[in-house]
């Protein structure tokens, strides 16, 4: 396990380095001076020079990139002040330290994605297992039909519909907002309930169908039927033998869905007016804010890679035949 983690961590570092280099050099291929965006309507050459200096845009691009990399580990000095490690620079558009901005926004995105993940896994797997257990009944057919409809839904369509129905018109649910977990658990939960439900809908449908079909497959397996023939209780066999086996393809899909989940989180933030990493990513690209774009890209990539490593490690837990090393 330790060797596996070490190998994956080194691989992740290389991937992050490649992403950072690609993003950095691509940015300078844009035929627009980022300083122009920070310069106002009465922009003068003197003002531009000051902005270039303040943003560290005077140096050649490779030097800027090197300074950026060094800054991550050693910190840097800017006109607006010292930037402690891990330093991702100073935002062109807000003049704030990028790392501080990310740290401020990340809890919301983490709450949103992890909460959404828990909701769709719980609802999706639960419904799928129930449908498999009641195969052929109205419950099975209903769950399959509903999941088929829901899988064609989009967050940006469903979000406003849910808001209209449950917030603006009836007031049954709170308008989405983010209150930190540590501040008020109840408000944190109620504030993110609608985004979780809406975001999880599109994923839930897939997991319902997937868990149903893999479970039905598993229930036909010889080792499961042998266990039943030995007189083991139905529920014991269902969860101990069949369910565990059915999880392997689901975990594979989950690994692939993690980046989609982050993308879904971005759309969810925009739909519900939440200010997390997703909105920050969009704003940074629109504002051609390189340090902010780099920071968001690298943190998001690290988050996706970390979750994938966790998912891969789960294989060994679920299936004893899998050896990580």
């Amino acid at each position: 396990m330790l060797r596996f983690l070490l190998r994956r961590t080194l691989g992740a570092a290389l991937i992050l380095l490649l992403i950072s280099a690609f993003t950095f050099f691509m940015f300078f291929a844009i035929p627009q001076d980022p300083a122009m965006l920070a310069c106002g309507k009465n922009c003068t050459p003197d003002a531009l020079d000051i902005i270039h200096k303040n943003l560290g845009l005077d140096d050649p691009v490779p030097v800027q990139y090197w300074n950026f990399l060094v800054g991550i580990f050693a910190g840097r000095d800017f006109a607006v002040g010292h930037c402690d490690a891990p330093c991702f620079g100073v935002s062109f558009s807000t003049q704030e330290m990028v790392w501080d901005t990310i740290v401020d926004r990340f809890p919301l995105t983490l709450s949103l994605t992890v909460g959404g993940l828990i909701v769709f896994l719980f609802v999706g797997l639960g419904t799928g297992l129930l449908a498999a257990a009641k195969r052929g009944t109205w419950l099975d057919k209903g769950a399959s039909s509903v999941s088929l409809v829901l899988s064609s839904m989009q967050i940006y369509f469903l979000g406003p519909v849910v808001l209209g129905a449950f917030v603006y018109d009836t007031g049954w649910l709170d308008k989405p907002k983010y209150v930190p977990f540590s501040e008020n658990l109840g408000e944190w939960f109620m504030g993110l309930l609608i985004p979780w439900l809406v975001m999880s809908v599109i994923f839930t449908a897939n997991y319902t169908r997937m868990s149903r079909s893999t479970m039905i497959e598993q229930l036909q397996e010889e080792h499961v039927r042998a266990a039943r023939a030995k007189g083991m209780r139905k529920n014991y066999v269902f969860f101990r033998y069949a369910w565990r086996g059915s999880l392997i393809p689901i975990v594979t899909i989950l690994g692939m869905d993690i980046s989609a989940l982050l993308g879904g989180g971005m759309v969810t933030e925009l739909t519900f007016g939440l200010s997390g990493i997703g909105r920050l990513a969009i704003d940074s690209v629109l504002n051609k804010d390189l340090p902010l774009t780099m920071g968001v890209m690298l943190v998001s990539a690290a988050f996706i890679i970390a979750l994938n490593i966790i998912v891969d490690a789960l294989y060994a837990v679920i299936d004893p035949r899998v050896r990580l090393s």
């Binding site: 106002g40 309507k41 009465n42 003068t44 000051i50 006109a79 807000t94 709170d174 007016g273 200010s275």
Partner: protein, 597 residues
């Protein structure tokens, strides 16, 4: 001022107009959705020249708002973060409204219950004293004006606040004062580079003989100085705590509130500035304990939330948000909700600029002007509650406006005269001519572009739409060598005078990248007239002269086709008291509001 889309926002520049309060609140009792929007008549009442207040007018505290209560936190929904917090960089509406709560200048606009404005002394004892027709203006500072740190504001702070505007890092914000003191266009920057290297403006320009006195000295009379100084962009920045570029994120408050918490891109909390003394302030109230400003709420979201009126929304106001087009009928048709709305005639004129370097034939310009589907275009921007067809380049809120001046017969053909335009295109031999039309990327601008493209095609032209990212739209069309033939921009007066409309839009001596002379008009007669009219000290004579110049520009040159005037329609929560339209900011008057419970 231009309706500028700042870093991430489309924001209208702070307007100062004079006139009548235009609260709606009224309902016909039946909750019908008939048109109860404001008209040009309401705007005409706003075009009264601003009165200059006396020392008595400038004394605080401000007259109590009937029934007002103290306490609570007011919620504010806003689409985006504020583009600037440094007052010297503020020239857009939402930041301007925030500035009214945080900052104070030498003068400010005080509004009465009918919305009539008087320029009064803010940190100064009066609106200014002049004995030579406006060439020299003297201001005396009030006692006991302190910033949030307890520092007593003196003349050195005022001097510094003016001088820092010359420094290269100040690239936004108004430039009237700098230009009047040291040269037009950007030449003022060559005259002086700012105070940060220890040099001051000479006493022949700006004199501070003692701690309480500030004297401005101009080469030519500047009768509008009191109005200009009332702009948030000329608020005081205490010298000792000026951090230059960093000030844009952590400004020092002199007004009734200070920044308690600021999270760029997310929101801001304002708390009371304990060092603000209401006895020194003739204009502001501070009924609520603070403001909780939340970003990332577009007009649609703001409207739905405020209309639903639940939870926090009961205590909420919009800053520059407006009732969204999609929710218009729901609001107008709801008598109870209408009591929580305000309306006003904003000073902005949307005009289709002709790039005169590219469209040199006046017949083509006239044809395009005749063809403009003005009604359809403004309906895409909020319908009757969002605008009205424009007959001229002057807004009804500007002194000198005349509804009868209608060279393109908008009264008869508000949605364009295709046949007449077609005829002109044929006469000009321009059938099939390619016309590149640049427009912003917001959905509404895209919708308008489709309507305009269709009209241009109908008259025989070959329109080519070019969508430009709204974040950089004004920067792109503001380039002299832009590659577009036509583009629509918005402009509104900074105070009730043509002096804040025609010079920025049509003065040929100001043409440069980033200038607001979007049509690149450089006409000798127009340039001379601008210089002449700016010297007229009688407001009535000046208004007539601006009207005549407006007529000349439209009929003889036609550098820009007037499309539509704008109106403001906002809604607030049911627990908000003191709700009124501000003729100074063109939006909710945030200096008057309180929470009922």
């Amino acid at each position: 001022m231009s309706i500028i889309r700042s870093r991430t926002a489309q924001a209208a520049v702070v307007a100062a107009t004079a006139g009548a309060l235009v609260l709606t609140g009224c309902s016909d009792g039946g909750g019908s959705a008939k048109d109860k929007s404001k008209s040009k008549k309401d705007a005409a009442a706003q075009s009264v020249a601003v009165k200059l207040g006396t020392a008595a007018d400038s004394k605080g505290p401000a007259a109590e708002v009937p029934g007002a209560k103290t306490g609570g936190t007011m919620k504010v929904y806003n689409a985006t973060d504020f583009s600037h917090l440094d007052p010297g960089q503020i020239y857009v509406s939402d930041a301007g409204m925030l500035g009214k709560l945080l900052f104070r200048g030498l003068t400010t606009n005080k509004e009465d219950a009918k919305g009539n404005q008087t320029v009064v002394g803010d940190i100064a004892t009066d609106s200014g004293q002049t004995t030579d027709g406006g060439k020299t203006w003297k201001y005396t500072l009030k006692d006991g004006i302190k910033d949030e740190n307890g520092h007593v504001i003196d003349s050195a702070d005022v001097r510094h606040s003016v001088e820092r505007l010359y420094d290269p890092f100040i690239t936004d914000g108004p430039s009237y004062l700098q230009q009047w003191l040291s040269g037009s266009g950007t030449t003022y920057r060559k005259a002086y580079a700012g105070p940060f290297k220890g040099k001051h403006l000479p006493d022949s320009v700006l004199e501070t003989p003692d701690k309480k006195t500030v004297i401005f000295k101009f080469k030519t009379a500047q009768p509008d100085l009191p109005q200009a100084l009332a702009m948030v962009g000329y608020s005081v920045v205490p010298k000792e705590t000026d951090t230059k570029e960093k000030y844009d994120k952590k400004p020092v408050a002199v007004g009734p509130y200070k920044i308690g918490e600021y999270k760029p891109g997310k929101g801001m909390k304002l708390v009371r500035n304990e060092n603000w003394d209401p006895k020194t302030d003739a204009m502001r109230h501070a009924y609520v304990d603070g403001f909780d400003i939340e970003y990332n709420h577009n007009d649609d979201d703001q409207t739905k939330t405020l209309l639903a009126d639940r939870g926090d929304a009961k205590d909420a106001v919009m800053f520059t948000g407006q009732v969204s087009t999609s929710q218009l009928q729901k609001v107008v048709g709801n008598a109870a909700a209408m009591k929580r709305t305000i309306q006003g005639y904003a000073p902005y004129v949307w005009q289709m600029n002709f790039n005169l370097d590219r469209i040199k034939d006046k017949k083509i310009r006239d044809a395009i002007t005749l063809a403009m589907p003005a009604t359809a275009v403004y309906k895409a921007d909020g319908g009757a509650y969002g605008g009205e067809v424009a007959n001229s380049l002057m807004s009804p809120t500007t002194p000198g406006y005349d509804e009868k001046l209608d060279p393109f017969n908008r009264a008869k053909n508000p949605n364009g005269d295709i046949e007449a335009a077609k005829k002109l295109i044929e006469e000009a031999g321009a059938k099939g001519k390619k016309i590149t039309y640049a427009h912003g990327s917001e959905q509404m601008r895209q919708e308008q572009a489709v309507l305009i493209e269709d009209a241009l095609r109908k008259i025989g032209l070959n329109p080519q739409k070019k969508q430009v990212d709204s974040a950089t739209f004004y920067e792109q069309v503001g380039k002299i060598k832009n590659k577009y033939d036509i583009y629509m921009t918005g402009w509104g007066q900074d105070w009730a005078s043509g002096a804040t409309v025609f010079p920025p839009l049509f003065d040929g001596t100001q043409i440069q990248d980033g200038s607001s002379n979007y049509s690149h008009l450089n006409d000798e007669h127009v340039n001379k007239e601008i210089v002449r009219i700016q010297k007229i000290t009688d407001p009535k004579k000046a208004a007539t002269a601006w009207h005549e110049l407006n007529e000349y520009i439209m009929t003889e040159i036609n550098p820009a086709a007037p499309i539509y005037y704008t109106k403001v329609f906002q809604i607030a929560g049911s627990n908000v008291g003191g709700l009124r339209y501000s003729t100074t900011t063109s939006y909710t008057d945030v200096t008057q509001v309180y929470l009922k419970k």
